[in-house]
């Protein structure tokens, strides 16, 4: 700990330790909506999002974090979704994105 801190460290808030994260819930979600594994994080869903149009809600960010086991705040964020289904129509991987929203809400209510 005696090392000099030059200010180049990864800030704690953004640090993501995939070995420590509990990927169980992420896996359960992907099991319910198997296409979700094929997401390329293109952001099409966010670009078209009805809720994202009105607020800072960013669907791609939340579901990408969820896939990596970062669940904090995901449930609260998902409550902004209106389930309108636009994202599902634009998704190039044909993912049931509404299903993903609903699964995140079901499985991550405690985080």
């Amino acid at each position: 700990m005696g090392a000099v801190n030059f200010g180049y460290g990864i800030s704690a808030a953004r640090g993501m330790d995939l070995d420590r994260n509990d990927l169980g819930p992420a896996r359960e979600i992907a099991d319910e909506v198997p296409e979700f594994r094929a997401c390329i994080a293109c952001g099409g869903c966010t670009a078209t999002c009805t809720a994202g149009n009105l607020t800072s809600f960013n669907f791609r960010m939340v579901h990408t974090l969820v896939r990596r086991g970062e669940y904090a705040g995901a449930y609260r964020e998902m409550n902004k979704c209106m389930l309108c289904g636009k994202c599902r129509l634009v998704c190039p991987r044909g993912i049931n994105t509404r299903g993903v929203v609903m699964q995140i809400k079901r499985k991550l209510g405690d985080y």
Partner: protein, 616 residues
């Protein structure tokens, strides 16, 4: 007196079974009825002394006894149901008359009617009132037995009757079904033994009795006779006890269901309700709802159709996957012979499983002082007669928006665009997902928005929005129109004129517009004005779903694509050069399923708008 007694040890199972059946049924019905909301009870009270009661009685006769609607779908299945229902009913009714014919007004206990043959061997046989009752009763028994034979055959080879095997049976069903199959063969045997001993009986029981008397030693006959009557009574008793816990509960439950429905009681869209019990237990598990379902037919999703859903919900084993795997397309509902509100039941279960408290979720859309900050809405000064709500899906289809713009311009309409710069969803997708509380909030937001702009007509291009505006919004003073209705009025009123063409078009009925809102003719009228209309084989009330319904919460991309392709093939078979629909979601879904161009009605109208140059 005639010295008849109507008691023997073997009647006990029957008496016990009947008492249990009666007690359970009364308990269930009274409980369900008591839990109906006051509004429903009032409408029952009002309906009871009106023509609705007569209509209900007639419907009971046609459906519960004759099963007319099942006949229409599948005659073999219709015969089976009728032979049990009508045959058994007549056996009881004619049996009653027979008792009176032989014994006059004398009191006869229940078991005396049911086991009439056994208790009245000392009576003079032969016709009464000029009617050969023995022959009539034998004929009826034969009729029911033919149904039993058919039912057995169906169990063994369900495909042969054009039906799918409906269910793996539960315990209650298994017991009830087995005992039901025993009832009538045992009755035949019991009556035949008695006839054989006393030389009575009609062509069937007398004939079989004669044969039995020759093959069975005379000493054994009375023992065999009593054994057969015991068997008959036990089969009846077991069936009656298991009936309320099996699918056969539908036999009785269809009757209160029909009456309640005629008196104006309905399920509540979006929530479970006590009335649902009547619907769930009136399902005969006939399986007619399986074949029309495209999830089954084209999407490769089996085991989630309405019959399975109803079974699981009735026995409290409903999974979320089951509740969510349905497009609420209404195709099965249109075919269900019992007329169950299958969409309503499914969506209601989603509420129970999925609804989460709203938590003021849409505060961001409401802005600081309860006013919405969303674009368009923040310009309360802008008012117009006509408001146009594109809906999320239309916003994804700029061509439809452009077409609407052209049509509004051609008609000289002063329009306020409600959600062009982004708005809140109509709320129906949320509602169909079971999140009724959150949906309610969104609806309020939009209601306020519409009111603020002083519109008197609200036009939308999206049937999903249309339906929720009509069914759930309170928009007094604002007429809600789908753009197809709006176009039809513009044309009829001479506000726009369309150029006739010769193109062969085919039209896809969106579920929410057709079965949902009953709008079939307006879009067709507009299309006939601009081209030749070719109908696909399944159309109007029977139209296919595009496969991408917003209600399909748990339907994967593969199933959607498979269903979309199947619909596409149906349109290609019409020989049309273009598929027209009137829903932005259907348009996108169909475009994935066919090579043909897919247009929204608005685009077609735009293309055929008569301009000043044309009319010269």
């Amino acid at each position: 007196m005639d010295g008849l007694t109507f008691y023997s040890g073997f009647v006990v199972p029957f008496i016990v079974g009947t008492s249990v059946l009666f007690a359970v049924i009364v308990y269930k019905y009274v409980r369900w009825f008591a839990r109906l909301p006051r509004r429903d009870k009032l409408s029952v009270r009002r309906g009871m002394f009106s023509g609705a009661t007569v209509a209900a009685a007639w419907e009971c006769l046609m459906e519960s006894l004759l099963h007319r609607r099942i006949w229409r779908v599948n005659p073999a299945l219709g015969y089976m149901h009728t032979s049990f229902a009508l045959g058994w009913f007549l056996l009881i009714a004619v049996g009653w008359i027979e008792t009176v014919a032989y014994l006059g007004g004398r009191f006869v206990p229940l078991q005396g009617h049911i086991f009439f043959k056994y208790f009245t061997t000392e009576l003079q046989h032969g016709p009464r009132w000029g009617v050969n009752f023995e022959a009539v009763m034998d004929l009826l028994l034969l009729y029911v037995l033919s149904g039993v034979a058919l039912a057995l055959f169906k169990r063994l080879r369900s495909r042969a009757m054009g039906m799918r095997r409906t269910t793996q049976l539960r315990m209650g069903d298994r017991v009830a079904m087995a005992s039901l199959w025993f009832i009538f063969p045992m009755r035949l045997l019991a009556e035949s033994f008695t006839s054989g001993i006393h030389g009575s009986g009609g062509f069937l029981t007398g004939g079989l009795g004669g044969v039995l008397a020759t093959v069975v030693p005379a000493g054994v006959m009375p023992i065999a006779e009593l054994g057969a009557w015991w068997g008959y009574s036990i089969a009846l008793g077991v069936f009656f006890v298991s009936m309320p816990f099996s699918r056969y509960m539908h036999i009785f439950t269809e009757i209160p269901l029909i009456f309640l429905r005629r008196w104006g009681v309905r399920g509540e869209v979006g929530r479970e309700k006590s009335f649902d019990h009547f619907q769930l237990e009136a399902c005969s598990r006939c399986g007619i709802c399986i074949d029309p379902c495209q999830m089954q037919r084209d999407g490769g999703m089996t085991g989630v159709q309405s019959v399975y859903f109803i079974r699981d919900r009735r026995y409290n084993r409903l999974s979320r996957r089951m509740a969510d795997s349905c497009m609420a397309c209404g195709r099965c509902e249109a075919k269900c012979p019992v007329g169950l509100e299958l969409d309503t039941l499914r969506v209601g279960s989603r509420y129970t499983l999925n609804n989460t408290p709203s938590n003021d979720r849409w505060a961001y859309a409401r802005g600081g002082n309860g006013r919405s900050d969303i674009a368009g809405a923040s310009l309360p000064s802008e008012t117009a007669q006509v408001g146009y709500f594109a809906g999320c899906m239309t916003l994804l289809s700029p061509r439809i928006l452009r077409a609407m713009e052209s049509v509004f311009a051609a008609a000289g309409e002063d329009v306020w665009w409600a959600d062009r710069e982004g708005g809140v969803c109509c709320g129906r997708p949320m509602k169909l997902a079971g999140e009724v509380d959150a949906a309610r909030d969104m609806m309020k937001l939009n209601e306020e928005l519409f009111r603020r702009h002083g519109i008197t007509t609200l036009v939308t291009s999206c049937p999903i929005c249309l339906r929720v505006f009509r069914e759930d919004y309170s928009l007094r003073g604002i007429e809600v129109l789908h753009h197809s209705e709006y176009f039809q009025r513009l044309v009829a009123g001479g506000r726009i004129s369309l150029k006739a063409g010769s193109e062969r078009l085919t039209y896809h009925d969106p579920c929410e517009l057709g079965r949902g809102c009953g709008i079939y003719d307006e879009p067709r009228e507009v299309l006939r004005a601009v081209g030749e209309l070719a109908e696909p084989s399944e159309t109007r009330e029977e139209a296919l779903c595009c496969g991408s319904s917003i209600a399909g919460n748990a339907i994967g991309g593969v199933a959607q694509t498979l269903m979309g392709r199947a619909v596409g093939r149906a349109f290609e078979a019409t020989g049309a050069s273009c598929v027209v629909t009137a829903c932005p979601l259907c348009k996108k879904a169909l475009a994935r399923g066919t090579e043909l161009p897919v247009l929204d009605l608005a685009e077609v109208v735009e293309r055929h708008l008569m301009t000043a140059a044309d009319s010269k």
